[in-house]
Subunit: 244 residues, 2 copies
DNA sequence: TGTACATCAGTGAACGCGCGTTCACTGATGTAC
DNA sequence: TGTACATCAGTGAACGCGCGTTCACTGATGTAC
């Protein structure tokens, strides 16, 4: 009976611990949705779970560690939303432009559904919090999803040449190494093109989410699509929109 | 001797009040620079000025009002930095592309010099704070500076036609009214082009300021220029950069 | 110019709140023989 | 299967802190006659 499966938790204690850890991060996420990152409180989490505030310290070492967990989860959720949307688009036979639009829309939907989590990672830094090294992997997931579309577009001949992207590469050597080196000519600027899209996507979503389009634009969804179409065309990719 | 100038403060009390009000907002701004918007504290401001915390209430009604003052000041400072840069460029005989690049660089410099003030207005919303109506005028100043460049570019024949900006206008009727109605054909899309630039500028600066380019790009200033060049060319404006 | 009263700035104590974190403790679960 | 000991989860009180805001007050400045 024992030792049948030693990767899964066996004892009652281990089961309870796994479950409570999840309950704590779930409660923290709900907290976050109501109140914003800087007001996240361990005591409030404990209160919601009906336990003493000190008990939470059996599961997370500090408020900062809890924040780190939430940040990593959020980056992962965003990255996964992007990847899943891209996968669906690929399965439906979409070209690179359609794939990228699908990814953008999926990320925007996620952000609108989880505004405070979005703010946690892409908004103002939380005062006094220092992100540890563990966050950089998950943080790059969305950027890599962008890159996949761009690389496929280039490979499929769907990426037009653009005049304004020459000159030395600006991408960090560490990043280049992570993606397997600078692509061969004439594709040396693919990392930069990807990054431009990445910045445009995050920038447009944050701008909307933080309220700056309020009373400025009538249809946010259409405005977003158009913004993304412009960003795409500026790196040589054409999106399947009405006007394009 | 009296009544020589009745707009300026006359009595000792009025002079003292004007000076202390300024001292309070200055101290608050210093506070903000150190600690971030959500941690701004009336008590800390009072402490810095060596007065009782209750005394501050003679000058501002509440913490929220102090925040509002800072927000308005910040929007104004950003708008003024943009306008001043544009004025200097005009005086130097620059074309529209060069003017826009000058504005972008000036706004970025301002943001790098005042990161927490930037975050106050363009970062995550401060939890629990509701912006009053008084902020919308100053908030639009930067956008209007963008529009001025774009309109001048169109008037000067420096704005190329672009394929991807057709379809119904998305700009809010209130905004259209504020800028004197929809421009005549073929310039109906100028408000939208301006807005695209505005979003691209704010998005790129926030992305950099909030730390997402850390270890991703080697030269932030050059990367920013290039991002702006791409945004400009996507609405038909060409910037005077090496590669363009 | 002088006096009497009204206005205002600033004080210090207090209210009531919430926070992160520590600590000695009780009682339940797991383990080795 | 039963017992003895070690491990761990959870409690409740406490420490020390900071916050926004109110209130009755003292004393200085301004104003009207």
């Amino acid at each position: 009976m024992p030792d049948l499966d030693d990767s899964a938790p066996r004892t009652a204690r281990q089961i309870a611990r796994a479950e409570l850890t999840k309950a704590i991060t779930d409660a923290a996420r709900r907290q976050l949705a109501e109140v914003g990152p800087s007001a996240l409180s361990l005591r409030a989490v404990a209160r919601e779970l009906g336990m003493a505030s000190s008990a939470v310290y059996r599961y997370v070492a500090s408020r900062d560690e809890l924040l780190t967990i939430l940040i990593i989860d959020t980056y992962d959720a965003i990255g996964e939303a992007a990847e899943a949307a891209d996968d669906r688009a690929i399965a439906a036979g979409a070209d690179a432009g359609a794939r990228w639009l699908a990814v953008c829309r999926a990320v925007r939907s996620w952000a609108l559904a989880h505004p405070n989590e979005w703010a946690l990672v892409y908004g103002s830094p939380v005062p006094g919090y220092q992100a540890p090294q563990d966050t950089v992997g998950p943080a790059s997931r969305l950027g890599l999803a962008m890159a996949r579309v761009v690389v496929d577009a280039a490979a499929g001949g769907e990426l037009a040449a653009v005049a304004s992207l020459p000159a030395p590469t600006l991408v960090d050597p560490g990043v280049l190494q992570a993606i397997g080196g600078l692509p061969d000519a004439p594709h040396e600027d693919l990392p930069e093109r990807s990054m431009l899209l990445w910045i445009a996507l995050v920038g447009a979503i944050s701008f909307e989410l933080f309220g700056h389009l309020h009373n400025v634009i009538t249809d946010h969804a259409v405005g977003f699509d158009r913004q993304m179409a412009v960003a795409a065309s500026s790196i040589g990719l054409t999106l399947p929109l009405d006007g394009a």
